[in-house]
């Protein structure tokens, strides 16, 4: 296996995905298969090639630092799973 179980558990934690113990083994196999396959990139001599940063050769635009859209509190909150008095609510994070 290219990846071990500890690594998979660690990246699941980084990705904030709960992976039940029963699913870990299968995931190690699947992810190892994919990572093993993408490792063929090692065959390519990339020398001092610059990594791609923009797919079209157009300089990134700038804009004036001004407000373009505002005062949409109700729109912003419209899809919130839970809200109170104009705020999102989450489980208690401070004891």
């Amino acid at each position: 296996m290219v990846l071990d179980k500890a690594t998979v558990v660690k990246i699941a934690r980084l990705a904030r995905l709960r992976v039940p113990k029963s699913g870990q083994e299968a995931l190690v196999g699947e992810l190892s298969e994919i990572v093993g396959w993408i490792e063929q990139l090692g065959e390519v001599d990339t020398g001092d090639v610059a990594p791609m940063t923009s797919v079209v050769e157009v300089p990134l635009r700038r804009r004036d630092d001004v407000v373009t859209d505002c005062d949409r509190r109700d729109d912003v909150l419209a899809n919130a799973p839970e809200k109170t008095a104009g705020f999102y609510t989450v489980p208690k994070v401070v004891e």
Partner: protein, 491 residues
């Protein structure tokens, strides 16, 4: 009145403008066809009331002499485009109840020209898939079935949009293409599907998968229809930082049918191991058609072709893992309770995302994580530079490339579900152009031995959509593809 569902997009536009029929009549006939086609599972959200309301508004504008360039034309929309007040799910449980308060720029552009929304189409979850089997709302059926009568996949991820067009429920649909998600389902469904140059269509309001690759595009039954629909979608948008500020040409006018002297390249590396002979045969036939029309066809070499797909499976998941970090159960979408804030987020994401989306998030997180970033992500971005360089070099010699769109015809549902890599290989011919941001179009060109549609792809340099459409038009004309699936889903 004839059967209005038979009309293509340009033909319905012309008929509406000549007042041969009303937008309401067209909408009613197509809605009836869609209602009878529930077995295809092509839609996630039906919008008959909105369709009829928009059609009535179109009729009023036509009567008042204020018709737009796409007035009354029906367009089905992949459920990845945010539509104001209409549920937009990305085919994911995590957005099952999401109703956007805004409209995507591409759909806004269409409605501003008078086009009419014809429902939100099914797709692979977050556009991650090549067979439409990863949708939370169940798989889409391909209208095409071979003699064995088994369910075939419509391709993916824009499979619902492809099915709507192939089954003649609507004359046109829009999809998005990240690594082939418009072109591959178009080939599998016997229709035309086109991915524009990166930056040609705004990504604003499109649920993000891999931002440096995602590009909206048209899906239709003819090259002309694709040119017309792209014209309605494209344009500069200050709200998308990668939108390109460039004039939108009259794409329809580029269909001159004249390819005399055009230089067409056939990349040697697209002849891959295990590719069925019928794909190769069709490809050679395509070359003959272009030669007979006066084009000059020659072999070219794109040495990095084989590495485009593995590089894609680093870059796309990396960007996806970043983009999908926003789904945390706090601001919108599903929330699943947990012991604390982190527990809630982890439970929400575990239950909200399907298996393929979770795999790609994990791969993306891995290739971006400390200690692996240089070996995977940076390496892939360097390979990507080389892939783009390959194309640049070849396009100094030729005007367009001709390739197969996919390495096979549509396959039976479930056939590749257990073999991740063989599923990924569906996009082997479409991913290279995506990695380089180039425009590509799939044109239906023939049938497989099993009676299933096959497509040929034309790839052009950046912003040379006009040359691409012109070449595709000639391929289409020569292929004379007029086969259609039996309407087994009716009744």
């Amino acid at each position: 009145m004839g059967d209005l569902t038979e009309l293509g997009l340009a033909a319905s536009r012309d008929g509406l403008s000549a007042r041969d029929f009303s937008a309401t009549e067209l909408a009613e006939e197509c809605l009836a066809a869609a209602e009878a086609a529930g077995a295809l599972n092509a839609f996630i959200t039906d919008t008959p009331e909105r369709t009829l309301k928009m059609a009535a508004d179109s009729d009023a504008r036509i009567a008042a002499g204020e018709a737009g360039s796409l007035e009354g034309v029906l367009v089905a929309v992949k459920d990845l485009f945010c539509t104001k007040g209409v549920r937009t799910t990305a085919a994911s449980r995590i957005l099952d109840n999401f109703v956007p308060a805004y409209e995507s720029t591409v759909t806004e552009n269409l409605w501003a020209k008078g086009a009419v929304l014809f429902g939100k189409t099914n797709m692979d979850e977050f556009a991650m898939g090549s067979s439409n089997e990863t949708s939370f709302f169940g798989p889409v059926e391909n209208p095409w079935r071979s003699v064995d009568g088994k369910s075939r996949v419509p391709g993916g991820s824009s499979g619902g949009s492809a099915t709507v067009v192939a089954a003649r429920l609507a004359p046109g649909a829009i999809g998005t293409d990240t690594g082939g998600s418009i072109r591959q389902p178009a080939a599998f469904s016997g229709i035309v599907g086109m991915k524009p140059t990166y930056g040609r269509c705004s990504r604003w309001g499109v649920v993000a998968f891999a931002s440096s690759l995602d590009q909206p595009g048209p899906m239709t039954r003819s090259v002309q229809d694709a040119a017309v629909l792209l014209g309605g979608m494209a344009g500069f948008d200050p709200k998308d930082s990668t939108s390109v500020d460039m004039n939108v040409p009259d794409f329809e006018a580029s269909l001159t049918g004249d390819v005399r002297g055009l230089k067409v390249g056939m990349p040697d590396e697209y002849r891959i191991d295990g590719m069925p002979e019928e794909i190769e045969t069709l490809w050679m036939k395509g070359a003959e058609w272009l030669k007979e029309a006066g084009a000059e066809v020659r072999p070219v070499s794109l040495p990095l072709t084989k590495y485009a797909l593995p590089a894609y499976y680093i870059v796309a998941p990396a960007e996806a893992s970043s983009n999908l970090a926003r789904y945390d159960g706090v601001r919108y979408g599903l929330r699943v309770p947990g012991d604390d804030l982190t527990g809630m987020i982890e439970a929400t994401r575990a239950e909200g995302f399907g298996a393929e989306v979770q795999r790609r998030i994990l791969i993306g997180t891995y290739v971006l994580s400390a200690g692996y970033y240089d070996a995977y992500y940076l390496k892939a971005q360097k390979v990507r530079t080389q892939i783009a360089e390959d194309f640049r070099r070849v396009f100094a010699e030729v005007d367009v490339l001709l390739t197969p769109t996919a390495p096979s015809a549509t396959f039976v549902r479930g056939e590749k579900s257990d073999d991740l890599i063989s599923m990924y290989l569906n996009d082997v011919f479409t991913v290279p152009a995506s990695m380089a941001g180039l425009p590509g179009i799939s044109v239906p060109a023939g049938l497989s031995v099993n009676g299933l549609p096959l497509g040929l792809q034309v790839v052009a340099p950046a912003f040379a959509e006009d040359t691409m459409f012109r070449t595709a038009g000639v391929v289409e004309e020569a292929a004379g593809f007029d086969e259609r699936p039996d309407a087994w889903w009716v009744g």
